[in-house]
């Protein structure tokens, strides 16, 4: 068995261990009210089991990192699959650190799924080990990307704790603006889940739709035609395209003319499916549970002091911010100076790293100098992580730039 195969198995193992850990963590909280039990002892026992599962999962994933590093000859941070996997690894590592400080069982219910979603999201991308192109052949690849990912992982724990604070404190007795926003955040998470489910389902189904897409020059004449392949069923067809290989359904409508890029319509189609599947998932939850999702989650956190959640969220951000600064900005600048001859070039990825940094700087100033704590601070920690995801995902996949090779 080759090292690469071993690393794949280890990664799969860690995925299932994280899922198991999440279930155990949920049972640790919900099972406290079961009959014949001492609630505190129950939570402790299950919490410990959950923690051990996470530790074993983490070790398995560490094994994956090492095996793939040796097999590929470089740190597994050179494309989207490797990076997202590594990010989930860092989120789990950050969880282990923060958990050591605060020993709060329910943290696992929220942070581990965040890591799982990132791991599942990674599986959407091609996972082959590719040799490094010259631009990536530098020891800074290991230093810059790993440090940046670790910073982002710790900030993700800040997000999870902030979200927990909101779930804990937003009153669920009657609908309000806050409940609506909280539901929107949860729906967006479900859309990401929906996207992962759709893509991984259809990747194995061979239900491709292939279009022939004309490309127009500036005077509106057909310059050439391209072939575009949809993995997911086509809801939206590229502008003025014809179907070569029909898929499971006929498209409902055509993309507008200005969506010219070769993949623009395909990306729109994928986005529509993410939204649809997220809403369907949400609708199903609502039908079955007959409550807002926020109201479903709230009892998990009822015994937790909101101030503690606020503290954890802030602490995670206070720990993650310097790491992010070092990895995503300073190391990035040094590498850029070495590789591209300038330490800063306003490349979209650089700009978005700066935006993340400015956002968390604003968070810290508002908190430390203007007394923004609790709810407002929690919302900011959630928005901050959304900006991180934009930086990691949207910038690589939608906005091209010097970092676009990471999206291959």
């Amino acid at each position: 068995m080759s090292l690469i195969t071993i690393s794949e198995w280890l990664l799969l193992l860690s995925f299932f261990l994280y899922v198991a850990a999440t279930i155990v963590y949920v049972l640790a909280i919900t099972g406290r009210r079961w009959a014949n039990r001492e609630p505190k002892e129950h939570e402790q026992r299950y919490g410990r089991a959950g923690f051990y599962l996470v530790v074993v999962g983490f070790l398995a994933q560490l094994g994956y990192v090492i095996a793939r590093w040796i097999a590929g000859g470089h740190s597994p941070t050179s494309n989207m699959f490797e990076f997202m996997t590594f990010l989930s690894f860092c989120i789990i590592l950050a969880f282990l650190i923060i958990y050591r400080i605060y020993r709060l069982t329910v943290l696992g219910v929220f942070v581990i799924p965040t890591g799982i979603i990132m791991l599942a999201y990674a599986s959407v991308f091609p996972s082959k080990v590719t040799p490094l192109i010259p631009a990536l052949k530098s020891y800074w690849l290991h230093i810059h990307v790993t440090t940046a990912a670790l910073g982002e992982g710790i900030l993700a724990v800040g997000f999870a704790a902030g979200l927990m604070y909101l779930v804990r404190t937003v009153p669920q007795e009657r609908p309000s603006k806050s409940t609506a926003w909280l539901e929107i955040v949860l729906v967006v998470v479900l859309m990401l889940v929906g996207f992962i489910l759709m893509v991984s389902t259809f990747a194995n189904l061979d239900q491709k739709t292939v279009f022939q897409v004309p490309q127009f020059d500036s005077s509106g004449n057909v310059e050439k035609t391209l072939e575009v392949e949809y993995l997911l069923p086509a809801v939206v067809a590229p502008y003025q395209s014809t179907i070569i290989t029909p898929g499971p359904m006929t498209p409902w409508f055509e993309a507008p003319a200005w969506m010219e890029g070769q993949d623009a319509a395909r990306k729109l189609n994928t986005m529509l499916w993410s939204i649809i599947s997220g809403l369907v998932l949400y609708g199903l939850f609502r039908l079955v549970l007959r409550k807002r999702l926020g109201a479903v989650l709230k009892p998990l956190l009822d015994d937790i002091e909101p101030d503690l959640l606020d503290e954890i969220s802030y602490r995670a951000i206070a720990i993650g911010y310097p790491v992010f600064t070092l990895g995503a900005l300073i190391f990035a600048m040094i590498w850029a100076a070495e590789a591209w001859g300038r330490f800063w070039g306003w490349d979209p990825k650089e700009v978005w790293a700066l935006i993340v940094w400015l956002f968390y700087s604003a968070y810290l100033h508002l908190r430390l100098s203007r007394g923004w704590m609790g709810t407002r601070s929690a919302w900011m920690s959630v928005i901050g992580f959304v900006i991180i995801l934009i930086t990691l995902v949207v910038v690589n996949l939608v906005i091209a730039g010097l970092h676009s090779y990471a999206g291959v």
Binding site: A135, P322, L358, G371
Partner: protein
């Protein structure tokens, strides 16, 4: 108003003081529970007290954290706007001239692109207003730091060892108890001192009060990191000065030596090569559909210095100073000159090769003719008594409007030669033209012709030429930023007071971060001393209500 500044402990405080510098009692009475904020230790700041001259107004404007946050948020949004469409320098297709740029945005992105271009967002990061924003952030950094660092230094260098009771009762973490008649105060305080000392606290004693203090330096973290940012921005600013930053680009053919612009140096490209991964070098079988993955882009180069650089009009006198290879991620460094492997043009035409044929001697091959496309030899001897002379040469040939041959560029994209073959024996001269891969003789039935052979190819390397004299300052600034961040975020300034007054024992605690950690330490202390005391940690929401109140008071009037 002079009496208002005099605290009951006898200390006279400057105007604007919130908590007495000496005993920590709130300077203004404001009810029982609303203890003022502990920020900046309740010291007077310049921005709160001076409000007359223009300098005061500018100072007060930039000293406000609120303004700083607004500046940060505006910069953040502006930076994001700049990534909606590519900046001009990242336009993925070649465009020429300002009209070409305008057309690119309009054609590619429609009306939105046009608006984007008209608003100047295609060069957003170098626009006057964006640079102004950065300068304003820099000013805010300087003034905010100065406004706070001086009073904070004064306050922290003289710790309030024996504070007023209202100061202790106003802290977020506090507790009190009646220890009873058999309580040995001195012994307990000494015991507490020992416990705190073990936990890394510095101990101050004054009468029946004890203060334990830890990691005061972490309070300087924010200022250290702001100083680092100021140094960083200073470096960026100074980079704009002439001579501080050099940004040039050179193309060098293999074997060619070119002057490095703005420097006394010359660079020779000995060899350029691109290497690709072999199939057996892949860690895993890949389906590449015959695509190749590049492994290395490399130029082997020699750097010379022109020793006559200071003599105007003198011939360059080159002396080798360094040789080595340039690859991506490994620039060629000589003193402050950096050369980066940035681009390449491989298999470019370098010279045309021909065989000169004597048709009258039964197509006899007379010899080889080489026409270099960059530095063609004016005349070359091909065989005994026979020379080939170049009459005219157009590297990038086309016919201009008036029907005359001309060249578009100096690159040999479409070379055209007019040559003359001369024979010394009979003094005859025959002209012919080479164009588009064909030989056209001046007149039919001539004696000589050129037979086209395989041309010579060469690789051209594209190198970035950089000097960045401010880089050390920029890196140093970044380093200082990191030191400040680590100081400020990975340590917390903790203080615990124990105070005995009229038979009651008071405990108070303050920290700038991680209240749960402080509480845990205070609880440990209470437990070890076996005191009948329960600690209170005010909820932040309550505390922030008090902060809101001080905020309103803080506004300069």
């Amino acid at each position: 108003m002079a009496d208002q500044r005099k605290c009951e402990c006898g200390h006279t405080n400057p105007v604007g003081t919130v908590l007495c510098e000496f005993c920590g009692k709130p300077v203004e009475e404001n009810g029982d529970r609303a203890f003022p904020s502990m920020r900046y230790e309740g010291m007077a700041r310049r921005s709160q007290t001076h409000n007359k001259t223009l300098v005061d107004h500018v100072w007060n404007f930039f000293s406000s954290v609120k303004i700083a946050i607004i500046l940060i948020v505006i910069t953040l949004i502006a930076a994001a706007v700049g990534t909606i469409f590519p900046q001009q320098r990242y336009i993925p297709v070649p465009v020429s001239g300002e009209s070409g740029v305008a057309a690119f945005y309009k054609d590619t992105y429609g009306m939105l692109g046009e608006i984007y271009y008209l608003l100047g967002f295609h060069k957003l990061y170098s626009s006057w207003w964006f640079v102004t924003l950065l300068v304003m952030i820099g000013m805010s950094l300087v003034i905010c730091s100065l406004d706070r660092i001086v009073p904070l230094y004064k306050a922290l260098s003289k710790p309030r060892v024996n504070p007023h009771l209202s100061f202790l009762k106003g802290q977020r973490l506090r507790g009190e108890c009646e220890p009873g008649s058999d309580f040995a105060a001195d012994e307990t305080l000494a015991q507490a001192a020992a416990i705190l000392k073990k936990k890394g606290y510095r101990i101050y004693r004054e009468g029946s009060t004890l203060l334990g203090e830890k990691a005061r330096f972490s309070r300087w973290g924010p200022y250290v990191n702001h100083i680092g940012l100021i140094l960083f921005l200073l470096g960026v600013l100074l980079r704009g000065l002439p001579g501080m930053y050099l940004d040039e680009f050179i193309w060098v053919r293999e074997g060619q030596t070119v002057a490095v612009p703005e420097t006394p140096y010359y660079l020779k490209n000995v060899e350029y090569k691109t290497e690709y991964y072999r199939e057996d070098e892949f860690p895993e079988q890949l389906d590449l559909e015959n695509r190749l993955i590049p492994k290395n882009f490399q130029t082997d180069a020699v750097l010379y210095v022109n020793e006559n650089a200071d003599l105007p009009g003198a011939e360059p006198k080159l002396r080798e100073v360094k040789s080595g290879s340039i690859t991506v991620n490994n620039p060629f460094v000589y003193e402050d000159l950096y050369l980066y492997q940035a681009s390449n043009q491989e298999m470019q035409l370098a010279a045309l090769n021909f065989t000169l044929i004597d048709k009258q001697a039964g197509n006899k091959e007379l010899g080889r003719v080489k026409l270099d496309l960059y530095e063609p030899e004016q005349e070359q001897v091909v065989a005994e008594g026979i020379t080939v002379r170049v009459i005219s040469y157009f590297p990038d040939f086309y016919m201009d409007e008036s029907g005359q041959p001309a060249t578009r560029t100096s690159q040999p994209n479409n070379p055209m030669f007019a040559v003359e073959v001369r024979s010394a024996q009979d003094g005859a001269a025959e002209k012919m033209i080479y164009v588009s891969g064909r030989i056209i003789p001046e007149s039919e039935g001539g004696r000589y012709t050129l037979q086209i052979e395989m041309p010579d190819f060469t690789d051209i390397t594209g190198l970035m030429v950089r000097k960045d004299k401010m880089l050390p300052l920029i890196y140093f600034g970044s380093f200082v930023v990191m030191v400040g961040l680590v100081m400020g975020f990975y340590w917390q300034h903790r203080r615990i007071w124990l105070h005995l007054e009229q038979g009651r024992l008071y405990l108070a605690g303050h920290t700038n971060k991680n209240w749960f950690g402080l509480k845990r330490e205070a609880e440990f202390l209470v437990e070890q001393l076996a005191l009948p005391m329960s600690l209170v940690l005010d909820s932040k929401s309550k505390n922030s209500a008090a902060e809101n109140k001080t905020k309103e008071e803080e506004k300069p009037t």
